[in-house]
Each structure stands twice: as structure tokens, then as C-alpha cells.
Amino acid sequence: MTEPVTMMAATTRLDYVFTAGVAQSKNLHGLEEGKFIGQRCPKCKKVYTLSRGSCPVDGLPTDEIVELPNTGTVTTYCVVNVPFAGQSIEIPYICAQILLDGANLSFMGLIQEIPIDQIRMGLRVEAVWVEPDELGPTMASVKYFRPSGEPDAEFDSYKEYL
């Protein structure tokens, strides 16, 4: 007959329904409106981006909502040169930790519109959003960050966030 069987598909699949919860839903709603939302701790006054709803230091609810600007600083970065399954961005590309102005926690974002050998700590960046009719409750509402043209931030201004 035909050739012997030597391989077998053995797909592993886990189907989750992810519920964002109250705090993350506020962040997602902000993204849907093209805004970054921070949440401030009532005690230490730190502002968390993509907050889970409580301050990890003080354990208190971060109920105060703070609208954050579109601009921030690259604290650290990584140039991705390695291809992997499911990659959606052409390599090489830059992943950076971005500290929004007024925030006390950075998050990871894609950097574009800069040659990869010019990425650096302290680079000032601004968010580029998708078209208004494409905004949704997802980080995909932010297309990427790009250099804002401002002078680099002083190291002391972000050294606490590395």
C-alpha cells in the first residue's frame, strides 16, 4: 500500500475566556478611546500603567484614574533579530520598555521610524495610534512608538525604572 505512517499531528490546545477585571477594563477602555490610563496609589502616589488595580508596594486599591500623555522615555530596549513562529513584524525590530511621562511603571512597546543602530536609553518617544475607527480595547490600538524629536532624557530621570 502507501508509505508507512511515521508522523502524527498532536496539537495541544487550551481554550480560555480571559476576563480583564475592573482595573484592566479601565485601561482597555482608555485604549479604545486612544488614551493611556494610569492608576495612582493613594499612599505612595505612584502611577501605574496597565495597573491590575492595586499598588504592589502598599497593597491599596489604585482607584484614582490619571490620564497620561502620549509621550515617554525609552528606559531599556532589545533589538530582535531572531525569527520565530507566528512573528508578525519584520526583523530586525526594537522592543523597548517605555516610561510614559507622569507614570511610575514602564511597559513594553514596539519602536519604529528609527534605524536600529540609533536606539538608545533615554530616547524620547511618542505613541502612534491606529486610525480612530480602528481603535479597540487592546494594546493593538497603539501601532508603535516613534522618536518625538525632543532631546534625550537625563539618565537620572528614569534610573529608578530600570
Binding site: 505512517v5 511515521t6 502524527m8 498532536a10 490546545r13 487550551l14 481554550d15 480571559f18 480583564a20 477594563s25
Partner: protein, 152 residues
């Protein structure tokens, strides 16, 4: 969505593995694709189905593929009144352990039935294969088991 909405979304984690099956399981899967059940001889001539590379009792190497079945006997079973999305059948069924004629071990598969009254240990069953064109060398090449006296 409105402010204050609590968001939720489907999130699927999937690993599309393809694995090599080796000579013994490969022979079993090749048999399924070709519409037959194949076992292997273990210690003392015992026939192990599905075949393993080593005797499950003694750890000795097995050798010599043998055809068994296709009819067999239910040695144990468990009723599933409400199948889950990943179960092989969408209607109520029994997980059955089937000892094929000529085999000394049992093989796990499914048998649909209208209720648990229709399933019992010792009943005679046979596999219902998928059409030849749909068989790929996978345990699901057997769609399910049916009682031996059932119409095809």
C-alpha cells in the same frame, strides 16, 4: 463599549506539534490507516494492543507484529452523559476498554449509545472505521465502536 464595562475575550493557547511515532506505534497507526488492528508480541507470547516497544509488565523488548480483532470484548467502560467540546463525539457515549480478539491487553476508545443501559462489560463490539479516503494514521481513524450485532 461603555465606560465601566468589564471586558472579556477568548484566548486560545495552541501548540501545533507534529511528533514522530517510532517503528512500533507507527506500525499500529499504519494499520489503522489501512483499516486493521495490529498488536505486538511481548513476554511469553502475550499480545499487546495498542503495541508498545517494551512489555508493560516485564519491561522486556517486544517483537513481531500480529493482526488482531477487529472484533473484541468490552472489559470496562464509563458513561459520559454530557460530552465536552474536546471529546471525540458530540452525543452521549461510553469510554470503552476493548480487548480485541487475539489480544491480551485492552484498548481505549468510544462507543455511542442512547444510554448506559446499552453498554455492559463482556459485550461484543467492533470498530467502525472512517472511510478509507479520510484515514490518515491516527486513533481517530476508528470513528467509534459499535455492538457486533449492530447494522453497519
Amino acid at each position: 463599549m461603555a465606560e465601566g464595562t468589564n471586558y472579556s475575550a477568548d484566548h486560545v493557547l495552541e501548540y501545533p506539534y507534529v511528533r514522530s511515532v517510532g517503528p512500533v506505534v507507527g506500525a499500529f497507526l499504519t494499520g489503522l490507516r489501512d483499516g486493521k488492528i495490529v498488536g505486538i508480541r511481548g513476554t511469553g507470547g502475550k499480545v499487546v494492543v495498542p503495541p508498545t516497544e517494551y512489555d508493560p509488565d516485564t519491561g522486556e523488548e517486544t517483537s513481531g507484529m500480529v493482526d488482531v480483532g477487529p472484533e473484541g470484548t468490552v472489559t470496562s467502560w464509563s458513561w459520559v452523559p454530557h460530552p465536552r467540546p474536546k471529546h471525540p463525539l458530540t452525543t452521549p457515549f461510553a469510554w470503552v476498554l476493548v480487548r480485541f480478539d487475539g489480544a491480551d491487553t485492552s484498548f481505549l476508545h468510544v462507543m455511542p449509545a442512547s444510554g448506559p443501559d446499552e453498554v455492559h462489560t463482556g459485550m461484543r463490539v467492533r470498530p467502525e472505521f472512517a472511510p478509507e479516503a479520510d484515514r490518515v494514521g491516527h486513533v481517530n481513524d476508528i470513528r467509534h465502536f459499535v455492538p457486533v450485532d449492530a447494522a453497519s
